[in-house]
Amino acid sequence: MASPGSLRRSQRRFAFSVMTPIMIYLMIFSLLPMIWAVILGFFDYSPARVGGTIFGLGESNPFVGIRNYLDMFNDSQPATVFRKSVSNTFLFTFLILPLNLAITLPLAIIIERSHARVKGFFRAVYFLPTVTSAVAVALIWGAIYNPQAGLLNSMIRTIGMTPPKAWLSDPQAFVMGIPLAMIALIVAHLWQDFGYNLVIFIAALQGIPQNLRDAAMVDGANEQQMFWYVTLPLLQPTLLFVCVMTILSSLQMFILAQVMTAGGPREQTTTMLMSIYSNAFRYQNMGWAAAMSMVLFGIIMLFTILQFRFLRSDWEY
């Protein structure tokens, strides 16, 4: 007799038949490229060279061991740019996460409490930038930031203030030590991205049972106490999901920076993905780019594990 929870033979066959195609797909398009990237990280591989007989590895694409990883610490220009891109990516991520949460959570609470018709309208309006093409968003914000004819500078001048010389290209413009171009990029990214988290928070808030709130009210909790002691703890799984997704997307920042600043000025907005892309496809240093992508993979994995460790909750409602 099958143990409780185990599947019957027909169920197993069904599960196997529906999962096999997707597993094959994942193996071919996800797992194999990942394994290939791990291997490439140990070679000085360029697709421009024929190399050895096994997948072009060896001979003119020689095995270099951990040389690509060690090179990340030397003084060469690509290594310097890569290290700069790592610090830029961290800066971007750690500014985006709290700012995103600080905007989306209160806004979600306000929208969730509003009338049903208004709720739908605002949810749609705020979600619109999320479904807009990132390239289009980058072009829109590029025009807004234009130093000579941009909307932002016109508005600043209208109120009698002096705008910065250039939002996206001045290498000497900093605000509290953060490059102005990075701040401009963060604002554009927040505008595009916050609708996603907002919709998730609204859905999570709607899922909190009303009887828990009623009980808190009966116990005399005010609005603030209700938020801190009822709403926020119950949102913990959603908060974990939102944090993980926001960090993942921020660590993989590419399109906005590529289109708006191309990594400039002076690599102040070069992200890890931009560095990997340009080394792989512009300079044909696939081995070096693969090693860098392994570092990015490690960082993303570490963050995800840490967040699951510290933000997970052991209960559901």
Partner: protein
């Protein structure tokens, strides 16, 4: 029911096979149809002329079918890189000269067969600067269609000249007069520069001014070993200091504002630039994409000294892949597109590119009839030399020269610091590639 024995079955099958074989045999010998592919990046003018020439080729060679496939520029590079290891790239590829040796020495391209063209013969008919991009380790790989020129030519804006009360078109004998005019055309709104008198801040422009400037002064950007660089010479420092002076003292360009969207040639066609240092290809782009903008293309004097001397970047041409299964037909097409005078002329006329074939420049009436803006710079062509093996052209130009020069122009580094950093980074690039 009647049954057949195995022997009968065998006889029947053999009879059918023999019958089908005899039916398939042609009544008369017919030339074998061969299908080859050609790839290029997407550029409406290039694609138009390539397609026309391919159609013509197929008419003249009815047994060869050519499939012409194009890709957006970035995708083209990625596709080359992924298809070559897989052996699925096209038989003939339109490739930029400065990429050729990278692919050729990696074993991805076929050496030009001696019966198609020898290097000695090619030197007679092509300019050396574009040809040498296709000549790697003593072997010729394909041939150029274009002489890529980014040196000593400029787009000039008649409206801004007129508004500043300067005679048009200008004929500059030296850079003092050019900068004087540029200063008159430069305009500000408060402290924000709205019009740049002289725009030379671009990845290609800065690179070619840097290398050409060193050569004009009799220097060399290569170190004695011919592989490493010397960007700390007095000639190199002079180039950086001069360009910095134009930006910081003469204030004819603000590199912070005139970059990105306001880079070259975009800012010029927005009427925000008086003189834009750029290759003649930009004039071709202007005629097609900005028909309402009035401009002229003029030759500029040497920036240093009185003699033109410059480094050139080969240009677009056609190469043949080592993976082709139809070498003969691929080289026929390659030959047809690059060496045939009428076809090479047609390519340059329609694509607006400078001819790589000497003959077309020696008798320039036909090319000038279509691209009159090339007139001022045709006289410069014999003064060019190929860039040489600069290890990684894009990294050197965009990541090393342009970035460090821009830092000097912005004032975030002194010219000496920029030269030292440029020198260190360029040589580290050489060492890094050599050591792996």
């Amino acid at each position: 029911m009647r049954s057949y024995s195995p022997v009968r079955w065998l006889v029947l099958i053999m009879a059918l096979v023999l019958a089908s074989c005899s039916a398939a045999a042609p009544a008369a010998p017919v030339a074998e149809q061969v299908t080859i592919r050609m790839w290029s990046h997407q550029n409406s003018a290039f694609n138009k002329v390539n397609q026309e020439l391919i159609d013509q080729f197929m008419k003249e060679n009815p047994n060869i079918i050519v499939k012409y496939e194009t890709f957006p520029y970035d995708q083209f590079i990625r596709t080359l890189q992924t298809s070559m290891p897989a052996g699925t790239e096209a038989d003939v590829i339109e490739m930029f000269g400065s990429w050729v040796c990278n692919y050729a020495t990696g074993g991805r391209l076929q050496e030009t067969p001696a019966e198609v063209m020898s290097y000695t013969k090619a030197q007679e008919i092509f300019y050396k600067a574009p040809l040498d991009g296709y000549y790697c380790d003593g072997k010729l790989y394909g041939m150029p269609n274009e002489y890529n020129l980014e040196y000593s030519g400029a787009l000039v804006n008649p409206e801004l000249y007129k508004a500043a009360g300067i005679a048009f078109p200008p004929e500059y004998k030296d850079y003092n007069s050019l900068i004087a005019d540029a200063k008159k055309m430069t305009a500000f709104s408060g402290e924000t520069m709205t019009t740049a008198g002289f725009h030379y801040v671009g990845g290609d422009a800065l690179g070619f001014i840097m290398l050409g400037g060193i050569l004009e002064q009799g220097g060399n950007y290569f170190a004695d070993d011919g592989k490493h660089f010397n960007f700390e010479s007095k000639e190199a420092l002079n180039v950086i200091s001069t360009l910095t002076r134009y930006a910081r003292e003469d204030k004819v360009i603000d590199p912070t504002l005139f970059s990105g969207d306001n880079g070259l040639p975009g800012a010029f066609f927005k009427n925000q630039v008086g003189i834009a240092y750029i290759g003649p290809w930009a004039a071709g782009v202007g005629l097609v994409d900005y028909p309402d903008v009035k401009f002229e293309y003029v030759a500029l004097p040497p920036m240093f000294g009185s003699e033109y001397k410059f480094a050139a970047d080969a240009g677009w041409g056609k190469v043949v892949s080592t993976n082709t299964k139809h070498s003969k037909e691929a080289w026929m097409l390659q030959n047809y597109l690059t060496i045939n005078r009428a076809n090479a002329l047609k390519f340059n006329q329609i694509s607006g590119t400078v001819p790589a074939l000497k003959e077309l420049v020696d008798n320039p009436a036909e090319i000038l009839a279509v691209a009159p803006y090339m007139q001022p710079i045709l006289k410069l062509l014999p003064h060019g030399q190929y860039l040489g093996n600069v290890t990684d052209r894009d990294q050197l130009f965009y990541e090393i020269i342009a970035k460090n020069l821009t830092d000097a122009l912005n004032g975030t580094m002194t010219p000496e610091q920029a030269a030292a950093k440029m020198n260190a980074e360029a040589n580290a690039m050489v060492d890094s590639k050599a050591s792996k």
